[in-house]
Symmetry: C2
Subunit: 340 residues, 2 copies
């Protein structure tokens, strides 16, 4: 009896905000494995803002997500069938398994699957602080912002999978960490549980001027480094408080993903303040992953790096969960649990 | 009999475009020298866009030019009186002598005066390719853009004191050099005399879309590095043709100096193309000056680095010459000859 795989494909490209109609749930019968292949039961799917860019036809970070193919996505799970000695049945793995219950892959291809050890680190953490979001935070902070003790580091989407790690690493580096997040619950979490020095609720500040005043209060010494996950008025406000020689790591500009680009109001500040702004995608910096994952894994295993997850139940919940993520409705890392 | 010094002070701060009324010409009697001082006859005054920023009260690159004091400016000249053994009468020097005929300075202060050798290099070149504009070009190109042979480098204000050096150094590094300049005469000079591969007349392109098309034609492999002296629609157009991992050295944004900031239309391109944008002021990177000046001096002395000067006659011509510079009416390095 062969296995039935439920999967979600991209049915159409969004022309504005993403809608559930852009996705289609399918069931397909899985074929027997070929030599070298393994079959993974995807336990958790990671939902991430970068997926929004892939849904567009236009040039973005990377190749477009093809229509009618399984949506791209990071997954963790367990090998349930194997014709590859390196990945025996029962081992736990992380990979780009996509929005589907089962992932069949030629494990001879280098890097498509990585074994993970869940003795001290929960499986799902390999999609969060000990995975791509964690390394993203690590790279932007340590390789672009390069914080020095005593400096002030700001991060937007501060309660999210990436932002929460940025601020905690900044604190560990002896910096003042200031978050920007949406709503009082997220802000309390950021300053309470995560230990940031301050957190600004952007919903209380409808424009860049108001947000700039709030940043002035939260950053009495100005801003030395900024990790941008949002863009739009947040970036405008941060630039208005940026110190000479400050650095901006551009990781996401989710504010403009759905429509027209949002202009940067005062680019001359980059010159006036001799700033450095750098956009990056962590998958293009594989050389840092071993070091970053080792540090992040150690911090999670010993409880020094905290994180929160929002877990949607079942593959069919993925589209709505993803749309919620783009609106900031998740709290911490957004995952989908793919099996009961 | 004591010497009379003619000088120009800042009379008022501009509220829009700079006007001659923002300046005031004065004559003052010079006092005898104190121990350690020297008196320099300023032969040439350098006019540079950075002076526009200094005329504002608001935060800019550096301290504001104080009202009623001599306008800041680089000068070359000859020591005509000296109470300092290191700078005997007759030696030629470069310094920040300001908009005046004579410069009296305590030469014991380190770095206020530098002796120059005019055996193989004309005196005025120390205000151009072998001075601050040359080092500015060198720093932005070699330390920010870091061009590799075969890459395409674009520079705005390409016939100017800085831009002309950027393109010639880019050619020397094996790159395709593409200039942007105002008018057919400047463009012919840039491609003919200076040896750039192409030059776009921005006056033929009223908006970013049209300029982007012209850049597409001039940069068939896209843009790998951009040296920005102008900003505004030029920067928008360049970003629209920027390659992955391209770099922008922000040196000037003269397009917005007179009024409201000009927004950057599509900042998300910095992320999409994983770009690095960095603003700089060359006076904050004194560590590169010796190496840069040595290279630039060698290139000028051997005729391999070409440059052009526009020379206004007499101190009283300085305000109009400066206003012309801000409008792009100069051709090459704008100087003022301060003595008949």
């Amino acid at each position: 009896m062969s296995l039935i795989n439920a999967r979600i494909v991209l049915a159409s490209r969004p022309t504005g905000p993403v809608s559930p109609h852009n996705f289609r749930l399918e069931s397909v019968e899985l074929s027997p494995l070929a030599e070298g292949q393994v079959r993974v039961r995807n336990d958790y799917l990671s939902l991430d803002p970068y997926m929004r860019g892939r849904m567009n036809e236009s040039k973005s970070y990377a190749a477009s997500q093809p229509l009618d193919e399984v949506m791209i996505g990071g997954t963790v799970g367990e090998v349930i069938e194997s014709r590859n000695d390196h990945f025996p049945v029962g081992c736990q793995v992380v990979g780009m398994g996509g929005w589907q219950q089962y992932f069949t892959v030629d494990a001879k291809e280098r890097g498509v699957l990585q074994k993970v050890d869940t003795t001290h680190i929960p499986l799902s953490a390999y999609l969060g602080p000990v995975g791509m979001p964690g390394v993203t935070a690590w790279y932007g902070l340590h390789r672009i912002i390069e914080p020095k003790a005593g400096q002030t580091i700001v991060v937007s989407a501060a309660s999210g999978a990436v932002g929460s790690v940025v601020g905690q690493l900044a604190k560990a580096a002896g910096c003042r960490a200031v978050g920007i997040a949406g709503g009082p619950d997220k802000c309390s979490y950021v300053t309470g549980e995560l230990g940031f020095d301050a957190c600004i609720d952007y919903r209380e500040h409808p424009d860049a001027r108001s947000l700039s005043q709030a940043l002035k209060a939260a950053c009495p010494q100005g801003i030395d480094g900024h990790f941008e996950n949002v863009g739009g008025v947040i970036l405008d406000a941060v630039l208005s408080r940026a110190n000479a020689f400050s650095r901006v790591a551009l990781c996401g500009m989710i504010a403009g993903y759905d429509g027209q680009p949002i202009p940067l109001a005062a680019p001359q500040l980059l010159l006036v303040n001799r700033m450095r702004v750098e956009g990056f995608i962590v998958s293009e910096h594989m050389e840092v992953w071993p070091q970053a994952l080792k540090e992040l894994g150690g911090l999670v295993a010993t409880g020094r790096l905290k994180y929160r997850e929002t877990i949607a139940q079942g593959l069919s919940a993925a589209p709505e969960a993803f749309i919620g993520l783009l609106k900031g409705q998740n709290f911490g890392k957004q995952l989908v649990k793919l099996h009961p």
